[in-house]
Structures are given as C-alpha cells and as structure tokens.
Subunit: 241 residues, 2 copies
C-alpha cells in the first residue's frame, strides 16, 4: 500500500493527525531529501529512501516497487500531495501496473493556505493557483492563464514564482496581469511558511519587489476589493459590516 | 485574543495539530451549530456560543466582544477559515475596532483538498475555486469567472454548488463552461468529505448528474489532460512516465 502524505508547509503544528499517524505506521518513508529533514522525528529507525530535486520519477518508481513487495510506503510531499505534489505521479505510475497497487492520498495544508493565514485573509474569495515553472508546462499556457485569471479578477496565488534559472518569469507575470490588476492592489509575499526563517512582506502591485522572492516563497495578489489593514491583507467575502 | 480555526472537512483525522491545540486551550468556542456538532470532544465544559446559518455577522461580533473581555476565543470554521470561512469577517470587524484585538488564523484542509484526495489527484495542475453562491457576489461576476476559468483550462473546484433556493445555478455554470470544457472532461463529485455519509461519483462533463449535488458537495471539473483510471481522476503534472 502506498500513502502519499501531504506534510503541510513545514512545521509539525500544520500537519494533520492522519499525516502523522500514517508516517508513524509506515514501513518505509520515501521523499525529497529537503522534506525528509523536516520530519526526522517520525523516521527514527525506519527505512528511508530519499534523493534530490528533479528526481521525482525515480523516487516514485522506487516507492511503487517497495509497495509491490508488500510493505506500507509513505511518500512524503510538502504542502498537500495533490497540489503540484507527488500524488499525481504515483497514481500515473500505478495506473500502468498490471497488478493493482492500492494508493491513498492523505491531504495536507498547501502553501497558499499556510501563507494566507500568515497574511490575514487574502484568499477569502474566488482564487486560483498558477505555477510559474515552465519545466513541465509550456510558458504560453502559463501566460494565457495569468491573463485570463487577472481579467476574471481572481485572487492569484503563484507557486514556484522564481528560481535562479528563470528569475525573469515573475516580472513577466506581473507585466501580463498588469493589464487588469490595478497598481494599488495588495500583494502578499511569504517566505518559508511555517519554517524557522519565515518572513512576510505586504506591498502593492506596483511596489512589488521581485528580489524578495525565491522558490520557497508564496506570492498572493489580491482582487479589486482586497485591502491592507496594518500588516494584514483582507479580501472581503461581501458582507456588509 | 481570537483564533480563527479551520477544522478541516469534518473528521478529526483531517484536523491539524495546531487546530486541536487551539480548541483545547480556548476559553470560549464560537461557531455555526452544525460545525460545533463536529467538534464536541474538544468542547467538554467550555463556554460555547453557537447559532444558525446566515448569522455569521452576529456570531463574529460576539466573538470580538468576548475577546475584548480578555478571553481566548476560538472561532470555528469548516475547512480552512481563510477560504469562504470566518477569517475575513473577523478581520474586517477587528479592523474597525479602536483598541487592537489580536487575531491569529489557524489554517486547515479546505474541502477541495479533502475531496481531491478522495478522487485521486484531480487538482495536480493549475486550478481555481469558484463559489456559485450569489448571496454575497453578483451572479454576473460568477458567470464571468466561470467562462474565463474554462477558457484558461483551469481545473475548476465549485464551492456552494447548489442549494434548494438556487438549484439551477450548477446547470447554468456547466452551460457557461461548456463553451471551452469538452464533454469528455472528467468530473468528480464528493459529498460530505470526511464525514460519515461521504460518497463519491466520477463522471464526465456531459454525463454530469446535477441531482447528485447539494450544498455539502464539492464538484471538481478537470482540464484538457485530466483522465479517469478506474474510480480515480488524475490530472497529470506533465511528467513523461
């Protein structure tokens, strides 16, 4: 049996009871080494299979092999396993197996939810998630989604906003959304949600500082009603208060 | 101090450690009575303030008053408190107070994430949340978002998809999205995520049965790459497997 476990943004406090129990009961834990370091207390004397970034396919194939030996495998994914995480890859691999390998996805708190809680209530109304990584998605598709999401006045949460290899994507994304997003719209930036070095910044669309952003940062852009109150960002649901 | 606590879809297993600790440490628990019934084990001899549907403003105002008396108040919200939950309303109310009332949002697993885990991995790629409730949002805004989200090929998660008072909204939403969503696109329906009567159905865009859906149902519509494997819905991230 394979459990694909969303461990939340990083701290134990943001893990669900089911995620903790699943890791405790697993025979083998499989994960990207950075995430394995976040859950050392659940590992103790367990067998661990870990490797580096961009080795997801190998890692997940290994998990499937171990499960076929009859062991309970917990595949660790940061945030929620079903949101840009390992759940899809595991299910794609097991769907190709001749014998059935049962899979259970254990949900978790994704980065946008963790970041939103720190910022206040920016995603209180309709919102979308867009990943700016074009490793697996053509950049034209990303551009189209950015433009239409801004036109629809969604609150926009950007995943994988900026890496060393493609530092210009974020500025380009803002340029595209700028056709519909006003300069005064609040923007929230949260780095390392739930981890030791957590930091937050509140600014507006036209005072955005792209240099503050790296791969472990969540960027949330408000809608036309979003406002800033002190260090908080609030998107009204529509109540008259 | 006010803690706005996302308790997840319903079961204790899907609560975070922080949500549980916060409820245990609170002096007073405030919430919609249906949700209070989901957390009776954390209440025991605590003071509870609960009321019915559409009385959110009264409930949150009461929470603010109690916090001003110096008590620790946990305001309960199903799913995540920052997604169509109570976090925004509490922050809107406290922003109007002359003396500062500290607020902390405790994140939780929202319904789309809980439903997605049950369905497999439907929200593995860019997705959006749209609420079909026009109680607080003009229907034209909802229509515009549905059309642009479908055009952008987002996976679409519908919140508040159908109530007795507006049973036709869901069919209308499908009609609008049908301009861009192909009839063969997978649709997942999950009722009462994480609760006793949980049920799931997998169908396609053109075999959708609107009668299966009520207010406690999550409807997830795939993108152009989403496929069905047995009873699971999978949206590929883009890996070549």
């Amino acid at each position: 049996m394979i459990y694909v476990v969303g461990i939340g943004p990083g701290s134990k406090d943001m893990m669900t009871l089911e995620a903790i129990k699943t890791m405790e009961n697993a025979d083998v834990i499989v994960g990207y080494k950075t995430y394995i370091n976040l859950i050392t207390e659940f590992i103790r004397d367990k067998e661990v299979v870990s490797n580096g970034m961009r080795q997801e396919i190998d890692r997940c194939k290994r998990a499937v092999e171990i499960a076929k030996e009859g062991k309970n495998v917990a595949v660790i994914s940061s945030g929620d396993a079903g949101i840009y995480g390992m759940a899809g890859l595991i299910l794609e691999l097991t769907s190709k197996e001749e014998t059935e390998v049962p899979v259970k996805v254990v949900p978790g708190v994704t980065a946008s939810i963790g970041a939103a809680a720190i910022l206040g209530a920016p995603i209180m109304h309709d919102f979308c998630h867009i990943s700016l990584s074009d490793l697996l998605t053509p950049w034209e598709v990303i551009e189209k989604r950015l433009r239409l999401a801004a036109e629809a006045d969604f609150v926009v949460c950007l995943y994988n906003p900026r890496s060393k290899g493609r530092s210009e994507h974020l500025a380009k994304a803002f340029e595209i959304m700028g056709e519909f997003k006003d300069g005064s719209i609040p923007v929230g930036i949260v780095k390392d949600v739930g981890r030791e070095k957590e930091e937050k910044f509140v600014c507006t669309f036209d005072t955005m500082d792209f240099e503050r952003v790296d791969m472990t940062t969540m960027v949330i852009i408000g809608n036309k009603s979003t406002f800033i109150d002190g260090d908080k960002i609030i998107t009204p649901r529509g109540y008259t208060v």
